[in-house]
Amino acid sequence: MGILSQPLCSSASIFGANNLNCRQPLQIPHGLNSFIFKHLPSLSFSFCTSLSYTSVLFATPENQLDLGVDSDTREWALQDFYSLRRDVEITSQRVEETRESAGLKLLEQEIANLELKAADSSLWDNPAKAQEILSTLTDVKDKIKILTEFKTQVEDAETIVKLTEEMDSIDIGLLEEAASLIKELNKALDRFELTQLLSGPYDKEGAVISITAGAGGTDAQDWADMLLRMYIRWGEKQKYKTRVVEKSSGEEAGIKSATIEVEGRYAYGYLSGEKGTHRIVRQSPFNAKGLRQTSFSGVEIMPLLPEESVDVEIPEEDLEISFSRAGGKGGQNVNKVETAVRITHIPTSVTVRCTEERSQLANKIKALNRLKAKLLVIAEEQRASEIRQIRGDAVKAEWGQQIRNYVFHPYKLVKDVRTGYETSDITSVMDGELDPFIKSYLKHKYNMTLSTFE
């Protein structure tokens, strides 16, 4: 597939170097279908006015209107135009490739099929199914709309380039418009490509992040707390709704564990690659001798599935359900808000715990829901069609795998051991700047899937 061979943000770098001084606010057209209509008449018009301006402006240099236009004209040398033209060509090719690899023809066929189903009079006999059909239909339509917009946008830019060539003179406003159009378009293509990488069945859902302090005592508990903050900050940056639903504090500092629910589209898709063991190396503030220390924390990611959508039946005898209850004689003798529930799926040893709800039954329902979500994800990862086919031994190895190192001392480096992606800007990473890691992992994963198909 061509998607991945393209550099991301190709236009941004070119125009970054040009350092455009856009004194007039640029208009980035939104309704692009109507762009040609609305803008082409004004296109020729503005061309003329701009030309006439130029002649007038040279005559009266003190006119304040000239300042911007004049210097911009000089900046927009012919080579800039060539570079824009080349950029438009590259983007046009990228749009073509994207449309092709997205299977535009198939999508149109799918719409026809879905519309047929949606029109069926028996549609609402099964409301859940109907909902599914309608939401798929909306998704596919949205996708086609985006792909169509890509084409109109790049055609708009091409029109500007052609017009400029024919007129044999330069209109800065127009060229800037084309440049910004291409820039925005490339960003949109980046985003589209990323969502293309997120095609797993649960990628669109929200996510549950659970963090557990691992080996390393207080230092590890502090590390778990740092990770908690990192993911909350990441969620805020993405404008996701994040909620810490459970947090159990460490004795001295930090946390033993925490659970965050992240609501928003594609949260699971982005975060799914974060699961695994995160390792920190630093001069620990909790180490009396100030020695370098290594600690670990585990991160688990599960999709946040609406209760009714989890359609899995697990035989009761496969479940081991334990309730925490703090000692004593129990019953009327004790009153503690200890309602934690822990469920183990015996065949796979997959375990979940739920403590945040205020009644035991509520915790049990929620824990069971999480367990099902986790099993569904594992089944999908292992390409198993049923929960029964999950290989339990593989789960443990995979979910505990060390995925990333965060070195604070003796040098600063965050490095993902799977993709090799690294940065020395550890402060930003701890502030939730995770996107480069997430993107490189998603691409890495995508390439892996491609290679297993070959």
Binding site: N333, V334, N335, S359
Partner: protein, 368 residues
Amino acid sequence: MKLSLGSLYRPSRFPLLLKSYPISRSRRSFCVSSLSSPETSLKPQIPLFLRPPIYSTTLSDLRKWHDWAESLASSVGSTFEKSDNGPDSSLLCRELKWLLEDAVEDHTLVSQMGVENDRRVRMRAHVDELYNLWKQRIQERRPFQYVVGCEHWRDLVLSVQEGVLIPRPETERIVDFVSDVVSKDQELKRGVWADLGTGSGALGIGISRILGSEGRVIATDLSRVAIAVASYNVHRYGLKDIIEIREGSWFEPLKGLEGKLAGLVSNPPYIPSKDISGLQAEVGRHEPRVALDGGVDGMDALLHLCDGAALMLKPGGFFAFETNGEQHCRALVDYMENNKSGSFCNFEIIPDFAGIERFVTGFHGKAI
């Protein structure tokens, strides 16, 4: 709701049984005497989370309170746990989070504490009251459920207040037993069930929701506070057509239903009198003794219930009782086998989730 009152009532039976338990009886008669002014019906307290959000405070003031409350909770450490198996700091912090949830109208704003300090939030209690409530929680060991006025139990949120036992998570299981039994026997599902000593109404309400619209439940209690609170909870869950709250001691309000009950459940007082003083402070100092103290060996009410069950249950009727543990369960089964020989069958002793043998269940009459 209409119940047939046709069958024979033997008035001598119950007073006779009650006479043999002077301690609990004298305590109860005190309560009964207070019932004698029927003109004022007790008004139950509204749980915090249902009160109107008529107060308002800034996020920074709320945060100030929260930080204070958190440090108070942390200062407890494990001292309560060591002295009487009370809650430690981490459990108290969990309660604090829930108190905040109940007190703040839109608790998604809570995560903004420390970010948008001037923002005002609407509250269901004044901040000053929150200081008081948390002081009561930590210094007086007032149970969290009384502080917020509710307990989350199964899928219910039940109103509770001083004078009513706070339903325990263990007791949730009894509803599961009933659910299992009625799923196998439709006739039991359509019969009349009784929850004796209902307290907040937890078991009665839980069972009503299992039985559905065909079911009938009578929940009884001696305490007027319990009657008021249970009625409030029944009303809140819209179960007035299924469950009827009746005031009185154990079987007294069930006159005329002898041999007619499809099922009987109870979580009666079962703690031996000598153990009461050593209980966790939240329980011993604040919960009603009448709901906890089961007499010298804790079996007074349980034995009384067994006697009554033999009389009240119809053939094939089901019973489930909660007990203080293994010894109680054995003693109860022994008592029923020896003293009520033939009237009960299919006994089962079922452990709670902590592995303590907690419940005795069985059937009346014919073996199944």
